[in-house]
Symmetry: C3
Subunit: 458 residues, 3 copies
């Protein structure tokens, strides 16, 4: 589809959102709406994308980085004017056809864009309006037809009594022949009450010139939904959440209670995995089969294999192998890599570390910047003191080592294979394999001390 | 409104609640119903309040402390008898007018009380019944009128076929001229099947004497709702929760999923703040803009500024400045004061402490009764040992200090500016600025110890 | 009811579940469906139970252990063939009557089984079909009657236009005279399109022989519900959850928000207890009165007395006495026994330990395999180092002892009554009563160390 491009309208403020963010950066299932749309465009095989930014456009540019062309609409003179800002982009990239999309309508997907394109080409249309059938069309632009052709799109306030009865409505997305679009844009006028250039007028202009103007009707009205305020944004979330959960049910996932469960659009979960309430799965997270995830957990951009139990914990950009158990109340930070059968218990933080097969980090322990071998046992309260106030250093722990409770491993340091550290020791020097490292004072009992102290206090 | 007073009926047991608590102490959005009503009265500018207590009245007295007059209804002889208990209060405070309210109908607010009062005065009414229109009036007292005047309130069981068709119903709240009320109360009779004094009879008594008896109709029937059992109490919570969340949406707050989100009636949240599921905001909590709060958090009576991230943690009576991050899994106890850009990581408890700008308390640390400067770094596992078994003492840490991992700071103690403590040290004496404090033993490696131990065990 | 037995059909795969588990092992309210059914049978006083297993039958056998007889259906030749697998069981146990139940219809309870049996006996029926009235009977087997007798059960696809109008449908559960059942099973044929033996044909066979064939109609259609896919399984959970919560409301339990609240069928909760959102109560958990449980908690198989506060924590097979407080963020593992007024604060793990009355374990502490007396105070960061890498040992702490912060108690070890341990000590030897045990180095302050270090780094 090299000859196609996309223009995404993303200039709006959305006043009723009461936000300092561009409207298209508001999120649905923790993914900004603009990313839903650009991802859909990419799925449809379109690489040339121009985003028309306006309100708070700096934030949008920062977000998009260099992934798209950006055109800035500095004045807000209507949707026709917005599309016009993409003129340079169209002249430069020279696509044969161009899809125009709303950046705040996240549910139009790649398959639809593709299917509409095929119809657009097959019918040799100059414009193909993507439409939907609305039970209650009030407020939407109506699709007016003559002899099969779409002759115009009439807005609510301009519609005749008969036109108001039309239930086929404009989704706000279209395919155009680029040449026809550019001609029509040049002819748009703003001689209306608002003094705005209406993009929908392009359809009538093209139709009047005798070109084919067709439509592609969506099956599901919900796919055109956008949000004008936070309550509607919440409704988009609810809609998208249910679709994703229904999709998981079909894949053989058990969800005992949907309360508080949000699974992002790009997350996959294997069959026979159970998700418990209060669980958020975000980003590109992949979860295998036979896992129990939750309750009250957050997993972002992680790879989780099979038979993993992840209970009331959080993980970010971590990798978790088969049969690992985590939680309750643990925190895996980026670049945590847990090998098979690792046990992470409660109140454990791990970051930027590899933990070898079968190792146990059971309680109240922080492992950071470490390479830990297999079958290591961390006692309770262990700390890798990776930061000396200036730099971060790595800790190495060999296979089968036993780290006593409340041990500090002052990095850079290495504990050899099968070595022990005594409880309460601060380890500053390497411990050879099979050695015991002790760094603590001998215990002294001062008899009667408490009695004397109390009598003093009395 | 100095000449007005309020009498709140709060004597009921609510048998179907199956509770040892007075019915009015049951909570809606974590605020006892009686407090909703007394707060509404105060918002309306009425300071003289008499609460008529009965069932479990000691608990109610304890709850109200000295904020209201309290009259005790020792026998339960009907609503008329309940109001009669406020006679001494009325004779003593001498209000010109008095509003009678149900302590278990939490949604009548100050504006309504005020607006009804204005109508009551403007119409020179002896009584003004606050009414509502019910789709299904079954079970409610019907408002019977003649020539515009309210002539009586007829209970379901006493209503004629025609009266049963009346959809205007009694909310249970009224304004009275105090003089008319006292006369009517004196004339109430209990010559009915139940042998009870019905308060609603006062309307007929007053009307028959030829005084003006009017009404004030509520727009929203939901505002009169009360609860007779726990399921209805849950319904009150659901109703109130949705109203508060809708209010937040309008203020520009994002709520991605309403599951488990409860925001108390006295909480405020700024625009562009996101609330994640499982989050309870209680008491007088104030949250600024651009924050992310939740998931699975509880915040009670806190002041939170802008750009704060508060993840899966709990805070009580804490103050949190701009750009602070908290969590996951931390606990801020009363009198925690976090200055700008403080980072509180995971498994951290802070209480009764001031933490200076930019300080990091990243992991597994308890800071109690402490004054901590700016840009201090707490290693993992640090403890302020504020309690010696007899008294609590304070700890002071100067700017830029570095507290090594698993350090005990035995209060009272002071760590000077830019001072270091070595990992694993127990600090019992003050550390001068720029000094390093060490309190630990030298490490000894006992080679082959593990091998010998294992061969013994075999 | 010694002369009755039960046969439970549990051979199905439930293809649309997309599961490697037998369908009947999928859970409703965290209890496998088969356990709902076997428990109902036991409540009805029936001890002889045969479960007909098929798909993944090893897992089912493992789950049931020796609690039931098991018959394996190796080929799937229809429901009639499934029941036939129980023939040996019936010949061996010789019950006069037998109830046939679906293992994946969890809501038929003991009372129904019992009531249907009484009707079955009173009417001297050879078969009694348990039926229900369906608003929309499409897809269900219809109950065809003549002269009051049930003459046959007609499946959707075989039903005439008139039969399709019948709204009384087959629940899939039946009482049979064993002798009639065995005769009818022997006469079942598979001369139909599918080549399967339909169990429902037995009703017609028996009726045609002139025996009494009656019915027992359920009041609530919901009681026959089963699940064919994960979405329906979620619906069963929703249905069962609401019934249980409604039951709690009636018992005087407050639930402020039902989101994320799941209470298992075998859990009991006392009046005036509040359950906060995100709380799962599982297994045989018993909770007393005046407790506050949650938010975001998980309690499995625990006994909790009265006036307990359990906040954002998890407990498994623990016992908690009156006035105990736990949390936020603590973890009670099996065989934790907290006596009255114990305080467990945040980030505390306790396992296999008895904690005496009034003892405080406030923060960041692990107590394992310990016997702790009354009014003991654990400082922050204490650890019982119960594991030496080979064996687990017990720790004893006497009444009124004070364990300093970051103390290691290296088991086996005993701290005497009213003894102290100094902060940061590793205690390896017993501490006599009233003694102070110290095991740490003296603090040394190295002045100017930080300044020198920094100038080196610059």
């Amino acid at each position: 589809m090299v000859k196609a491009a996309a223009v995404i309208l993303a200039a709006g403020e959305g006043k009723r959102m009461k936000s300092k963010e561009p409207k298209v950066l508001h999120e649905v299932l923790f993914k900004p709406m603009i990313d839903w749309v650009t991802d859909a465009v990419k799925v449809a095989g379109i690489d040339e994308i121009c985003v028309v930014a306006g309100y708070a456009h700096r934030k949008l540019e920062t977000h998009l980085k260099a992934s798209c062309s950006i055109a800035i609409q500095t004045e807000r003179l209507g949707t026709g004017h917005a599309v016009l800002q993409a003129k340079d982009f169209l002249l430069k990239t020279e696509p044969e056809d161009v899809v125009i999309l709303c950046g705040d309508a996240p549910f139009i997907d790649g398959e639809i864009i593709d299917a509409a394109y095929e119809k657009h080409i097959a019918e040799n249309n100059a414009v193909t309006v993507i439409t939907a059938n609305a039970k209650n069309p009030f407020g939407y632009g109506r699709i007016v037809r003559k002899d099969g052709n779409v002759t115009s799109i009439v807005e609510e306030k301009d519609a005749s009594v008969d036109e108001k009865k039309i239930t086929e409505i404009n989704s706000g997305a279209y395919w155009f022949k680029t040449s026809s679009l550019l001609v029509a844009l040049a002819e748009l006028k703003n001689d209306n009450a608002q003094g705005e250039y209406y993009f929908t007028d392009t359809v009538e202009i093209i139709s009047e010139k005798g070109y084919n103007s067709g439509s592609f009707m969506l099956e599901d009205f919900g796919m055109i939904a956008g949000a004008n305020d936070r309550k509607q944004l919440a409704a988009l979330n609810t809609y998208a959440r249910q679709i994703k959960l229904d999709c998981l049910y079909e894949c053989g996932v058990t969800i005992t209670d949907e309360s508080g469960v949000t699974v992002g659009p790009d997350v996959t979960v294997g069959s026979d995995t159970t998700i418990l309430p209060g669980t958020i799965l975000k980003g590109k997270t992949k979860i295998g089969s036979f896992c129990v995830i939750g309750p009250n957990s957050l997993i972002d951009n992680c790879e989780i294999a099979n038979y993993v139990v992840f209970n009331a914990s959080q993980a970010y950009s971590a990798k978790i192998a088969d049969y690992v158990t985590v939680g309750p109340f643990s925190h895996l930070r980026p670049n945590t890599d847990l090998h098979e059968k690792v046990h992470v218990g409660n109140f454990v933080e791990i970051k930027n570390s590899v933990i070898g097969e079968g190792t146990k980090v059971s309680h109240l322990t922080y492992v950071g910047d470490s390479d830990v071998g297999k079958k290591v046992n961390f006692g309770c309260g262990c700390v890798t003191t990776n930061y000396d106030g200036v730099k971060k250093h790595r800790t190495k722990v060999g296979d089968n080592a036993f780290i006593g409770c409340n041990t500090n491993l002052v990095a850079p340091v290495e504990v050899g294979e099968s070595a022990y550290t005594a409880a309460g020791s601060t380890i500053t020097k390497n411990v050879p394999p099979h050695a015991l490292a002790v760094a603590r004072s001998r215990q002294e009992n001062i008899e009667g001390w408490v009695t004397r102290k109390q009598s003093k206090n009395d």
